[in-house]
Subunit: 429 residues, 2 copies
């Protein structure tokens, strides 16, 4: 496919107008002002539209679409114990499969090309990812409230089977990360053994860190160390790591995150909605931490509207630190794209450059909310609406265009998720 | 028009499924489970859709669409002095007319049926409101840095002419409010004379109050009173009043706002983006203040995406007061509809009830981000995306449907606003 007359955000997040972008198979093979000599099968006239990298959702629990709006305005513990845990207890593979497909459909609508996920029934998630054509770093969340070795945990064996079966499958679309749920749901032996296993196989890590003040302070009481210091002391950050939230991190923690190249996945909507706090993005960026953006689950968001997430990301720190100059639009877009891809270990995507994967979105600029255009980057971050995305492409394949899906039967998915949700609710009565 | 098979949010913001809603001329004349006996010309099958009151944007400066994204991440004073004031200095009537039409188009896309506006070149705004079919409470912002009587101010005479010419024009669609810009841009004599004039003619008031801590504290230094106490002492709240922002109000202020029936227009996105603070909605509601929602101008928002504004409204206080139970979805919807209409002095709209004006929106529920539906109110507040609105109707007339406008030539409006914007930028060089 050849895009012509299109405005792009280039690899440096600079605006260029009237460009040609050529896609062959799964890669970008041309970017230029001049028409390429090579012939392309399909021409897309991009007049009044913008092309940029798709978004990388760096922390999610996709199947939790099934719990969207189920329990609101509740205190965290009450919400977990009365709503989320009982519902999850009744989950089954088919429900997770359809819940994942629903979340993928929503992701594509909002321009997400790749997600860092943590959940269970991961085989069913893998199936949905393969069929739909998106990218995903899948992690089977590991908890351990016993003194068992990890080698005696089902969740570890599921991780191992997933890794051996699917890591880098589908032309690299699927990656299997090892996923420790959190410090407070495990113990030092588990952390240490997982860190050793990861180093042995070269896998990445996905873990919740310092989401609530309570979690952060309790860890200090238990171990005399913050969660970042504790996990680092056990080697958990020795391979590529995504640490979700990091709201309550301290100065020494920030230094460790920067030194170890840990990606912080900030989830501003969920964090504000659950009253957990606001991650200090300006501080992390100033110290050289790789900062990405996550939606967290829709049970606490309650959408995968990444355009909205980017706006919250750009605005939350302005209020929190009482300074309107904090977090620039360019920093927000970088977090949503380049830094997200880096956090997923995907060095072949996240920006527009020849030779990289064609993981792209097209935005409609002829919407009243996108006009006038003093500065397109400002408009994308502060003015765009989720549905201004009119095309989402992954590995060169159009998966979403003008409200239609090419790989997902959305009516069937809505019907099946509604049926499974009602089925689970019946079991809870 | 007759809506059938549609889910509604009724006048108590309760969900009712499979309903019939009849519209004749500008009013709702039927709501029921049974098919009405009366015949309607047009039938709208509402399967998979929801019908609710349109949104009331309770604080805006609509023509500032022209300054969308013009100057970002700047400190407030620098932003005003280097960007906004110079640009506004070069404005002219035609630019305001098209800028208003662009803002109205954006408003309709995002479900806003009526706006409380403060600006100048109000004749041009009136023209755009009349042509487009929306509702607007228009106020000519009055400032006075001299010791002149208001009767010697051009802005007062413009207000008077607007009031005599257009108040309640177009079947009540247009209301002219008197608009004092703020305490810090006027003086006690001006406030007193405006309050007397308003009482004489029975007009409403629209004023900025305690938006920044600096404004609030300086007023206390100048007058020994908070802005609310000062304005109230001069009689400004003796007629229907909308006070925008009210972020820094104190306990005594809240008591006054409740006693005087003042509507507080909270603008969460603009307030967070400018780092002004977060209005204490739970406190105001608990003391009986009528709380509505505003977008403020797109120069500081930067959109009129009311669905997004409602989500910020519902979430901002959870984080600010570290309590996830604060601001319920029902409170957020009430602020966006019923309380907004009340603040505009529109007692004939803001909810679905027989005999009221048909100022309505239709939401598409077959979008992946709206499924499953555990609770529709939760999904509208936390999960909806701006463009899930597929129809906006004002006074019984469809003004927006499936991305198309019936009264606005959107391509021409985009072309003209872009031309006027460039024209103004040229003059600034």
């Amino acid at each position: 496919m050849l895009f012509k007359n299109i405005t792009i955000l280039d690899e440096n997040i600079q605006v260029k107008e009237n460009m040609y972008i050529g896609i062959t198979n799964d890669k970008i093979d041309y970017i230029g002002k001049e028409e390429p000599k090579k012939k392309y099968d399909e021409i897309y006239d991009g007049s009044g539209k913008a092309l940029m990298s798709g978004f990388f959702n760096s922390h999610a629990h996709t199947p939790m679409t099934l719990m969207r709006g189920y329990g609101e305005n509740m205190a965290l513990q009450e919400w977990l114990e009365q709503r989320i845990f009982p519902f999850e207890d009744k989950l089954y593979g088919k429900a997770v499969y359809y819940g994942t497909l629903l979340g993928i459909a929503e992701s594509l609508k909002f321009g997400i090309v790749s997600t860092t996920d943590m959940y269970y029934f991961c085989d069913d998630m893998v199936k949905a990812v393969i069929e739909s054509g998106v990218k995903n770093n899948i992690g089977r969340g590991i908890t351990n409230f016993t003194d068992k070795d990890i080698y005696d945990l089902d969740s570890f064996h599921e991780t191992k089977e997933l890794y051996n079966g699917y890591n880098n499958a589908e032309n690299g679309r699927i990656k299997i990360d090892v996923s420790l749920h959190a410090e407070y749901t495990s113990n030092p032996k588990t952390v240490k053994q997982l860190a050793e296993y990861m180093k042995e196989i070269g896998a990445g890590m996905h873990v919740h860190v310092s989401e609530t003040k309570f979690e952060h302070e309790e860890c200090k009481k238990r171990h005399g160390l913050t969660p970042v210091q504790y996990l680092n002391s056990l080697g958990l950050f020795d391979t590529r790591t995504t640490a979700a939230h990091c709201i309550w991190v301290e100065d020494e923690d920030v230094r460790i995150l920067a030194d170890k190249g840990v990606t912080v996945a900030s989830c501003p909507v969920s964090n504000m909605k659950l009253a957990s706090g606001v991650c200090n993005i300006p501080l992390l960026l100033s110290k050289g931490v790789n900062v990405a953006i996550g939606t967290d689950s829709v049970a606490s968001n309650n959408s995968l509207n990444f355009i909205e997430e980017i706006k919250f990301f750009a605005i939350a720190n302005k209020e929190k630190r009482m300074n309107p100059t904090l977090v620039t639009p360019k920093e927000a877009i970088c977090a949503a794209t380049i830094s997200g891809a880096k956090g997923q270990g995907r060095n072949d995507t996240g920006k527009l450059a020849v030779g990289l994967k064609a993981d792209l979105i097209v935005l409609d600029l002829m919407q009243p909310n996108m006009r006038p255009i003093h500065n397109l980057t400002n408009n994308i971050v502060y003015s765009a609406s989720g549905n201004d995305i009119v095309m989402t492409m992954v590995d060169g394949k159009v998966l979403y265009k003008n409200g239609e899906y090419t790989t997902i039967d959305i009516e069937k998915v809505i019907f099946e998720t509604e049926k499974d949700t009602n089925n689970i609710l019946q079991k809870l009565k």
